[in-house]
């Protein structure tokens, strides 16, 4: 392999970021867009080349795929622990490389149209490049600390991009929320890293992931509250992943993050950054699987299943199309987590792992497409809300078709991409746990339902009174849509099992017909229901709302999770901890210090009278003092 080429892939966006950042005011907006897109095009081509070389030229048939590492020391901690910077090539990192490159390139192209005329155009591309760089770094990370470093960097790029419209208070709040919530999760991640590093003596993925290696085998050596310390570490790392991938209960930032520009939502909050959590678990999969017999994987599976259902239910009631998509993203990510959670390691048992990665890949394509379509729609009607849309199929044919393809894909209708990957997940779950399978199937149905709810709402419903006739977006925006639509259609036919599997061996995936039929049927049922509810305009939705009553209100308010958080942070942490801390400091700690000073002052006030300046008083004191001394010397010392 040519490592220079691989190194160039992340360095190009970094260079673009630096150039745009330093010459911020001197660069013309249009030029900056071109620089960004061009840079990324090179990166994308290189990624494709690398992928081709890895899978086809370099591949050794019949043997497990090798992990290729090229690294250099960045910082030394101790003799064994150190942070390396480098690139690690294995099937999943290359798959992610492709995902990031393609989606990012599409978003770059799309943004040139979407952001046109925005005063922060250059800044936008700079941040986008920064994000892409960080994401590449994350994907290619060779060790836990490198992944953490870029993890933080993508977090901050996300912060900057969500807060891109910084004069909007909601955007500012959302950015802050996103950062703080993920930061909180990262705290878990960091502690997890510390624990893993301490007990295994290494951060290197290569060493950590070796099923027979000492790091994994060391789990039995220590225990803490009934679980191996290493399991605690992995659980904490999973919390980090859950924060980024918006698993319940750390999901609250994701819907708010939709305050950012729509291309950002497509890139960061649908296709790439949010899958980092899934990627992290997949990256450490052998550890998760082998340490204490996969106890943490069960946690992963249940958290995944619950989040998937939870998010899907909320998605039904939301009226902001981007929020629906956000909850959908959360639900799909949870799906991937679920698949990882139920996966085994070797051979057929590793189907869940493969399915999860497969779904990650396809989901990135169609969810990015969905967001970009939504962006196109929002661009046309200047609103995020369903009530301001309707009948747009006449005005925006390309957007309409591409959206439909994406919606069908996510609903799991063959032969689109979503069907294949979702089917694999369902098979994997079915083989493991029936309860989880039912949940997963239900989620699939709900997914189809809410997707078509907004589809009908946007494109079919009666026109609202448009202030100006909406029109199709410019070519810069529609071309990426078309390309992504093509990917969404075709991605399912990639023989994914040949490239990616838990044990790196070729995995022959085959369609389990009854299960596939059940999945398709559920999807169709969801679509049909949506058609009944929202296409026919029978007033059914309102009736349902009335019938469900409280339940609907709860769902509409996202089960008040936000309020709980707000209560905890505002009322408890701020009011009960931070404010008392500040007060305590000013009054008690500082009060003590100032009090010492003041009491000195007061004492001196009191004894100031003695220093009256009257010679006679001094004389008296003098005489008295002399007397005391004389008496002391004469009658005490001479005794």
């Amino acid at each position: 392999m040519n490592y220079t080429e691989i190194l160039i892939i992340p360095l190009i966006p970094l260079a673009v970021f630096l150039v745009l950042g330093i010459f911020y005011s001197r660069i013309k907006p249009a030029v900056s867009g071109i620089i960004g897109a061009l840079g990324l095009l090179i990166s994308t081509l290189l990624s494709i080349k690398v992928a081709y070389q890895y899978f086809f030229v370099f591949s050794n048939d019949g043997v497990a795929y090798q992990t290729l590492v090229h690294k250099t020391v960045w910082m030394n901690f101790t003799e064994t622990l150190r942070i390396d910077m480098g690139v690690l090539l294995d099937p999943i990192s290359i798959m992610m490389l492709l995902v990031v490159s393609i989606v990012s390139l599409m978003v770059h192209l799309y943004s040139r149209g979407y952001m046109k005329g925005d005063p922060g155009y250059t800044k936008f591309f700079a941040f986008l490049s920064l994000f892409t760089f960080s994401m590449y770094g994350l994907v290619l990370a060779t060790n836990l600390f490198q992944i953490y470093i870029f993890w933080e960097l993508v977090g901050v790029s996300s912060y900057l991009l969500i807060g891109f419209y910084y004069t909007k208070p909601t955007a500012v709040a959302a950015a802050k929320k996103a950062f703080v919530v993920t930061r909180f999760a990262d705290l878990g991640f960091l502690i997890g890293i510390l624990i893993v590093g301490f007990y295994t003596g290494t951060y290197d993925f290569e060493l950590l992931n070796n099923p027979e290696g000492s790091p994994i085998l060391s789990w039995a050596a220590s225990s803490f509250f009934g679980m191996s310390v290493l399991s605690w570490g992995l659980l904490l790392i999973f919390i980090g992943g859950a924060g980024k991938s918006a698993m319940f209960p750390l999901h609250i930032w994701l819907p708010d993050a939709m305050e950012g520009p729509t291309p950002v939502s497509a890139l960061i909050h649908a296709a790439t950054m949010v899958v980092a959590g899934v990627y992290l678990v997949a990256r450490l999969f052998p550890m998760y699987y082998f340490v204490e017999e996969g106890i943490i994987l069960q946690v992963v599976a249940f958290v995944g299943a619950f989040s998937a259902l939870f998010a899907a239910i909320i998605a039904i009631t939301q009226n902001d199309i981007k929020r629906v998509l956000a909850y959908s993203t959360m639900s799909q990510l949870a799906y991937m987590m679920l698949a990882l959670g139920v996966s085994g390691y070797e051979g057929e048992a590793g189907l869940g792992y493969m399915a999860s990665m497969f779904h990650l890949f396809t989901h990135a394509m169609f969810k990015a497409l969905l967001f970009l379509c939504a962006g196109s729609v929002i661009h046309a009607v200047h609103s995020n809300y369903l009530k301001d849309m309707g009948g747009l199929r006449k005005y925006m044919p390309i957007t309409h078709i591409t959206f439909l393809i994406a919606a069908l894909a996510i609903a799991g209708i063959p032969p689109l991409a979503g069907f294949w990957s979702k089917d694999e997940i369902l098979v994997a779950v079915y083989e493991k746990n029936t309860l989880l399978y039912i949940v997963a199937l239900l989620v699939a149905g709900l997914t189809a339902f809410y997707m078509f709810r907004i589809y009908f709402g946007i494109f079919w419903k009666r026109d609202p009174e448009y202030a100006s006739t909406p029109h199709e977006s410019p070519a810069t925006m529609t071309i990426p849509l078309i390309i992504l639509a093509a990917f969404s259609t075709l991605a399912g036919f990639v023989p994914f099992g040949e490239f990616i599997s838990a044990d790196r061996m070729v995995l022959e995936a085959h369609i389990n017909l009854p299960l596939a039929l059940a999945a398709v049927a559920t999807g169709m049922a969801g679509i049909g229901l949506a058609w009944l509810f929202y296409r026919k305009e029978t007033g059914l939705p309102e009736k349902m709302v009335d019938a469900l009553g409280k339940l609907y209100t709860w769902t509409y308010h996202k089960f008040y999770i936000d309020e709980v958080y707000l209560f905890v942070t505002k009322k408890i942490l701020f009011k009960r901890v931070a404010e008392p801390a500040a007060k305590f400091d000013r009054q008690v700690v500082d009060g003590t210090m100032v009090g010492i000073g003041n009491s000195t002052v007061r004492t001196s006030e009191k004894i100031k009278g003695m220093q009256s300046g009257k010679v006679q008083d001094y004389a008296m004191a003098f005489v008295a003092g002399i007397l005391v001394i004389v008496i002391f010397f004469v009658y005490y010392l001479t005794e």
Partner: protein
């Protein structure tokens, strides 16, 4: 030289004189009274010098010489003090200690 009066008596007298001077110095509020008290103090010490010189070390003259110096200094001091008092009186028409306190500030 007298034999009826011993050193002890004279020293007793000077001690009494000395402490009368101190008492006066501390309790009087009038500058001139304070001055008088100081004279008493000085005189008590002068007598001590002289008497001890006479009774114990008749061969040397240090005590006498010092007495002369003390007297000289006392004279100078008194002259100055009186000068100050008169000047003060001219300025503030008082020679009470409490009135002079303004000078502290």
């Amino acid at each position: 030289m007298i034999h009826d009066v011993s050193l002890y008596e004279i020293l007793t007298v000077t001690s009494i004189l000395f402490f009368i001077g101190i008492y006066g110095f501390i309790t009087r509020k009038n500058l001139i009274s304070i001055l008088i008290s100081i004279e008493l103090l000085l005189n008590a010490s002068v007598v001590n010098f002289v008497v001890i010189n006479k009774y114990l070390y008749p061969d040397v003259l240090q005590g006498v010489v010092f007495s002369i110096f003390i007297i000289a200094v006392a004279a100078a001091e008194t002259a100055l003090a009186v000068g100050i008092i008169i000047n003060l009186y001219r300025q503030i028409s008082s020679v009470e200690v409490k009135d002079v306190e303004t000078m502290k500030y």
